[in-house]
């Protein structure tokens, strides 16, 4: 059984996506203005507060989507079938099994 991904480039781009997300998040936090007000109770009631923690669920979902986009698949190699596989440099390698030569 062979596991492979059809578009491994998506997986290689994952650190880049994470970096972009982190930069955007840091910029948002840095751009927040602090205001002193008499009371915050009504704000808590009226408008839901934006979460300050790391959104683990959202991150996991995004990574799962990336992984799915990369096209994972499992191959069951059949010796009687001519198979094609793609290497990491995007070249397609075709294995050709010739019956007469394999016997000889």
């Amino acid at each position: 059984m062979i596991f492979e991904v059809v578009h491994p480039g998506w997986l290689l781009l994952t650190p880049l996506f994470l970096l972009m997300w982190w930069l955007q998040r840091t910029r948002w936090m840095a751009g927040t203005t602090t205001l002193v007000v008499p009371s915050t109770l009504l704000w808590h009631r009226a408008v839901p507060q934006q979460s300050r923690g790391v959104p683990i669920r959202t991150l996991l979902l995004a990574l799962a989507l990336l992984f799915t986009a990369a096209g994972p698949r499992l191959l069951m190699p059949d010796p009687t079938v001519i198979g094609a596989r793609r290497t990491l440099d995007q070249a397609i390698v075709i294995d050709v099994r010739i019956e007469s030569q394999s016997r000889g």
Binding site: P38, L42, A46, V47
Partner: protein, 281 residues
């Protein structure tokens, strides 16, 4: 505030109070009713006071003027015999911005009116879940905000009966009004004064913010048009609920713009829905 301006405001309040009386009686007859009027006032003669520009000419004592060529007014007192209980809510928000000044002036005016009418009066401060009689120089902002229900139950009416009650509080979030304000059921016609700042009533969009308030958890989010709209809707809903609760008990709710000063601050108290009125004449 400087000592001179403080003195000016005290004089202004004293002069205002001499011309004001409670709009409604809590128990039966209101002040001055049933008595003959004389020199545009009612009640018994109390004292002479210097006539000042701006005073009503009706109040000028003509006899003194003809005899001594001096302008004096005669003041009369209306004894309404209705004790006044003023309850000031504690909490850090009561000490924010111009609120302490607004609370102080409002409170001074009510006390001055009570003094002018010879009404017994007492001032309470709610501190945490407790209530204590205010001492001179006591500030509501130093007190902590606590459970309103238990604090109101600890306020004791004056010995001569419950009389009139005035609550000065900027609270707006109430989960269960019947439960939290049940301590007010001892008084008839409770008067609730809310000294609010404009930014509390109607906030403006200010982008991504972290809102901080003493003794309260911070709020982080984006204040845009829609969030301002939601805030105002919730504010109006709480305000209507408070107003409705007080109205059902014959009382009234009066919001004050705490950013105002002097007469502009106190003028709503004299409106039709306000607890005070100008003595006619």
């Amino acid at each position: 505030m400087s000592a001179a301006s403080s003195l000016d405001h005290s004089r202004l309040i004293e002069r205002l109070a001499g011309r004001l009386r409670w709009r409604d009686a809590v128990n039966g007859v209101s002040s001055g009713q049933g008595r003959g009027s004389r020199s545009a006032a009612s009640g018994e003669f109390d004292n002479h006071a210097r006539w000042c520009p701006g005073d009503d000419l009706h109040r000028l004592d003509l006899r003194v003027w003809l005899r001594l060529r001096q302008r004096w007014t005669r003041s009369y007192r209306d004894d309404s015999s209705e004790p006044l209980t003023i309850i000031i809510d504690g909490g850090a928000s009561m000490g924010f911005g111009d609120k302490p000044q607004a609370v102080s002036w409002t409170c001074e005016l009510f006390l001055a009116v009570a003094r002018a009418r010879r009404d017994p009066h007492r001032l309470w401060i709610l501190d945490g879940g407790n209530a204590r009689v205010a001492l001179p120089g006591d500030r509501a902002a130093v007190a902590t905000r606590g459970d309103l229900r238990s604090a109101l139950q600890r306020v004791e009416p004056t010995g001569s009966g419950p009389g009139r009650v005035v609550i000065i509080s900027d609270r707006i979030v109430f989960d269960d009004l019947d439960d939290q304000l049940q301590g007010l059921n001892r008084w008839r016609k409770p008067i609730w004064i809310s000294p609010w700042l404009p930014e509390e009533v109607s906030p403006t969009p200010s982008g991504q913010v972290r809102l901080e308030a003493k003794q309260e958890p911070p709020w982080i989010g984006t204040i845009d048009r829609s969030s301002c709209q939601r805030y105002r809707e919730r504010f109006d809903r709480y305000q209507r609920a408070l107003h409705s609760w007080l109205t059902r008990r014959g009382g009234s709710h009066l919001p004050l713009d705490a950013s105002q000063q002097g007469e502009a601050l106190l003028r709503p108290l004299l409106h039709r829905s306000g607890p005070l009125e100008v003595v006619s004449g």
